[in-house]
């Protein structure tokens, strides 16, 4: 793979659910050290797009390449390069934190020498919870375990699906610090979030998806500058300064979805 080649390359994917065109010719790419936000209202096609990247869903057309590996042709290699934090926590509630970490290390072929798991748990301040079953952890603790597992194999690409939902401000801050460190290490991050403040603060680039199509892609500042004078954006802007949320609502509409 060439040094400047994108870590994630999504080209012209289409996904249909019966007659419904859920994802329509979506294309974007993410480079090393970049945090890319995929924003959209409920039902816009975010989850379907993410599912296609994760290999959970096969698009009707188009390609997804992760670190140069096509997810359809070479799923094991593509998935070995990708860490995923799903929206809902979904680990075996009967396993302890230590056992879950060992399971996922095994699935990625990562050796777990003595002290390795304990070191990881110390890093996320969960060393006292290593013997606790996953189901006994609080939401914030589960989220921290989930991020450790998503990064256990040091992936080139990290997918985060609404990672801060349900977290208290302390946990949220800690999570963003960790994500920032991941970015600095040269990894790429694709995240979805409903928090426009967060997206504006942490994303290098943002794509807004609606009705299955990407309707805008740019840096947060670029999106605001490009659309600040759009009458749809001005109509929904509530302050003197146009925000990313104004742009988002202006472009995707004010009506409630899903």
């Amino acid at each position: 793979m060439e040094p400047n080649a994108p870590i994630l390359d999504v080209q012209d994917i289409d996904i249909f659910y019966g007659p419904q065109h859920a994802v329509d010719q979506v294309s974007f790419s993410i480079s090393r050290g970049e945090i890319f936000g995929l924003l959209g209202p409920n039902g816009a096609g975010k989850t379907s797009t993410l599912s296609a990247i994760e290999g959970l869903l096969t698009p009707d057309s188009g390609t997804v390449r992760i670190a140069g590996h096509d997810i359809r042709e070479n799923p094991a290699h593509a998935k070995a390069n990708m860490g995923v934090q799903l929206q809902s926590t979904s680990f075996h509630a009967d396993l302890t934190v230590r056992e879950i970490i060992r399971l996922y290390a095994g699935l990625y072929g990562v050796p777990t020498p003595p002290g390795m798991v304990e070191g990881l748990l110390k890093e996320i301040q969960l060393e006292d919870a290593r013997g606790k079953r996953y189901g006994q952890l609080s939401g914030g603790q589960q989220q921290r375990v989930s991020l450790v597992i998503a990064t256990i194999h040091d992936p080139e690409l990290l997918l985060l699906d609404e990672p801060t939902t349900g977290l208290d401000p302390q946990s949220r801050r800690q999570l963003w610090d960790r994500i920032e460190r991941i970015r600095k290490s040269g990894r790429a991050v694709l995240l979805t979030t409903h928090s426009m403040e967060e997206a504006e603060a942490v994303c290098d680039r943002i794509a807004i998806i609606d009705h299955g199509k990407i309707i805008a892609t740019d840096t947060p500042e670029g999106l605001i500058a490009t659309h600040a004078q759009d009458p749809r954006v001005k109509a929904v802007s509530r302050g003197p300064r146009v925000t990313l949320e104004d742009v988002f609502i202006g472009l995707t509409g004010s009506e409630l979805r899903g």
Partner: protein, 252 residues
């Protein structure tokens, strides 16, 4: 664009990690596993007086058949439906683990449970009813228990394939269990008429029971046992095909 050469885990590494985790979960839920032994043990105790009339291997084959149905329909089907509903399969599928390894590891643990159950029932039958088999009967009976177990695991998979809601899988699994066991046990005695007796004989309950009975008495193997083997294999293939064809990894 060239690809990076990566250390992707081998299928064996993946299977080993999954199997260890599934085995641990099974052990943590051992109370539920013990429940699958309850009905066979009750039968062993309550049928003590008629063992001489029915024959030890016949009683044993009934007990093991009922235990296998419980593991397949209530243990395996329920745990698979619950794991799916919680999104555990989806989480595993975003790793390099293939769908084959994910399923194979769960099935391997269930087959192991069936093996343990058969051995426990052989021991319990000896102590409760003084039932003994030949060495060949024990070996073949244990092997047949796993083979027959595959029929009910496939039936459990078909159930999970056709029904997405975990609670419905639980209810329907129990209903099918009761129907197979009650109709099977009563029907094979001829109480429901000769037609019902024939239907029961070639039902999953009947064919598995005949196969187990013949395996425990290898010297008495006959054409009926061979047919039971073929019918059991056919059930296994059909149920597995239905389960695989309609199985969904997500409950949504």
């Amino acid at each position: 664009m060239e690809s990076i050469e990566l250390a992707t885990p081998t299928r064996l590494q993946v299977f080993r990690a999954l199997f260890k985790a599934d085995l641990r979960i099974q052990w943590r839920n051992r109370r539920a596993s013990l429940m699958t032994l309850l009905v066979p043990i009750i039968i062993l105790v309550s049928w003590s007086g008629i063992v001489a009339m029915l024959g030890g291997p016949s009683v044993m084959s009934s007990c093991i058949t009922i235990g296998l149905i419980a593991v397949g329909l209530m243990g395996y089907a329920n745990s698979t439906a619950r794991a799916r509903e919680k999104g555990i399969f989806q989480r595993l599928r975003v790793t390099p683990a293939g769908t084959f390894e994910i399923m194979a590891s769960r099935i391997a643990v269930q087959l192991l449970q069936m093996l343990v159950m058969a051995v426990v029932l052989f021991i319990a039958a000896y102590f409760i009813d003084h039932i003994t088999l030949s060495v060949g009967g024990y070996v073949l009976g244990t092997f047949a228990s796993m083979l027959c177990g595959a029929v009910f695991l496939a039936l459990g998979l078909a159930l999970v394939g056709l029904i997405s809601n975990a609670e419905t899988v639980n209810s329907i699994g129990r209903l099918v269990y009761i129907a197979l066991v009650v109709v099977g046990a009563i029907g094979e005695l001829g109480v429901l008429g000769s037609m019902a007796k024939n239907i029961v004989l070639w039902s999953p309950y009947g064919s598995v029971k005949v196969l187990l009975l013949a395996s425990m008495q290898p010297s008495a193997w006959d054409m009926t046992a061979t047919f039971a083997l073929l019918v059991s294999a056919a059930y296994c293939i059909v149920f597995a095909a239905i389960g695989i064809r309609w199985f969904k990894w997500s409950a949504e």
